[in-house]
Subunit: 284 residues, 2 copies
């Protein structure tokens, strides 16, 4: 049994530090506040919302949830976002995605204020991510991966890292953040040939393809560090990752469980972004 | 002697097509026009400017050059850019970089209209590059690499590509563009361990580190395709690339010369961006 990279201790250590920061802000009369804008009632969104409420409450970050009809129009939704942009008591805005089809995300993403855009929806933040400019907000899940690596003292400089997946939410951002920490980064995807051989070159493998248990022992080299970002439901109805944990566990030096790995850290990163936005806004 | 990927025929074929497009626009009374904004008189800028003037003239794209004192302030330069943004006869704006130290590029990049920003300075265009949204403008040199690969019928799908360099002008953009064409992409840089071994995995190697003749035969595998983006001056005062052409030529299946490779295509891409911007602006 190798070392498991459990998310909970990473989340808890960060939570403690964030609570101290928040207490100091509250002493100054400033209460960091997150607004969650949820369209419809998707179970994934509701589950994440529950986690975010609980984590923010532990830290002392206020949360308001505004739910909207799944039939809301782009114009109506824009008006709601602008209201939130102009509300000085709100420091961070989280909009659950994907939005329903009638809402044009390509318009919406420009509306959310980049200063309150704590999950990297606005192109200003995507471009900061590309530039390695840390004044922006990276996607929370991608940053949770980085936080987990940091918590478990994984040195990234010069390491071969392989990311499976090229989405705007995980694959590309995590690749850029690894690059920013001086890792040598390979990005794989559905069109990659000999995927398992490419992955087996990795000192650190990040699986974010969204397919249950695709990554087995043929994908990893002895002593690799495996981060599983996948959240899938298997045939028996259990939550499983992209990595076949049982098959990889012996070969890996460290491995994240699913659930209990990356997912446990994400809402803490979300809270940290609200606090960061709050401090910027108050010039602290 | 293997096949050389000479830039000239790629540039000339594209030039012919662009000339046809431009002639059609001119028939409609629309003359695509580029504004070059040059601060100071750096020799690199002047050389590029000369090439751009000559290429645009062949295609029928108008060019105006506005030169500014190297002591211009950020405020003065902003006013000049805004004037160009508002000038309906100007379709594309090229600002030579880096700008002198007193000018804050982090402010300037937001001023240039993304619709006229034909060399990917504005974050709106960087973020489109990251998203793979082709309505934006990629950096011309990075796109010249892609054009050269296309001209020589290099299939990218699933191919192992390695990019050496992670700059915002070449390394990162070319990596993203390769990814967008379904290549498996590895990004290397100064902190990469065993650089030559990582590069030797590449079916296609893009050298953009800016160090004369660093890449020799130990960096390439038999039959690899080598694109050299480097422009350096060697001890004898000759222009050389990042690749040691003589040492790599026999092992490579195809290789770009320096000069005469990527550099010969860049100004044609620049002209194509002016035409693209002109068509957007006129809703054609």
């Amino acid at each position: 049994m190798k070392e498991q990279m459990i998310g909970k201790p990473a989340a808890e250590r960060l939570t403690e530090n964030l609570k101290i920061e928040t207490d100091l802000l509250i002493e100054k009369g400033i209460k960091p506040k997150l607004l969650i804008m949820r369209v419809g009632e998707k179970s994934d969104d509701l589950a994440y919302e529950k986690g975010a409420l609980s984590r923010c409450s532990k830290i002392g970050v206020g949360v308001e949830v505004r739910g909207f009809s799944e039939h809301i129009t782009t114009e109506e939704f824009i008006a709601e976002i602008e209201k939130a942009n102009n509300d000085t008591e709100i420091h961070g805005i989280l909009i659950f995605r994907p939005l329903p089809k009638q809402i044009d995300e390509n318009i919406i993403k420009h509306i959310i204020s980049p200063k309150k855009d704590i999950d990297c929806f606005n192109p200003i933040n995507s471009s900061k991510l590309l530039e390695g400019d840390k004044t922006g907000f990276a996607p929370c899940t991608a940053e949770a991966v980085m936080q987990l690596l940091k918590h478990y003292n994984v040195d990234l400089t010069g390491k071969r890292t392989v990311v499976i997946g090229r989405s705007m939410v995980i694959g590309k951002p995590v690749a850029l953040m690894l690059l920013n920490e001086n890792a040598t980064v390979t990005i794989c995807h559905s069109k990659t040939k000999d995927l398992n051989q490419v992955c087996a070159e990795a000192d650190i493998l990040i699986a974010a393809l969204g397919k249950a248990k695709i990554v087995d022992d043929k994908f990893i080299k002895e002593g690799a560090i495996i981060i599983d970002v996948g959240i899938n439901v298997d045939e028996a109805g259990n939550m499983v990752g992209d990595v076949d944990f049982e098959k990889c566990n012996d070969k890996a030096a460290m491995i994240t469980p699913v659930p209990g790995g990356v997912g446990s850290v994400t809402t803490t990163i979300l809270a940290s972004h609200v606090i960061k936005a709050c401090k910027y806004m108050n010039k602290i």
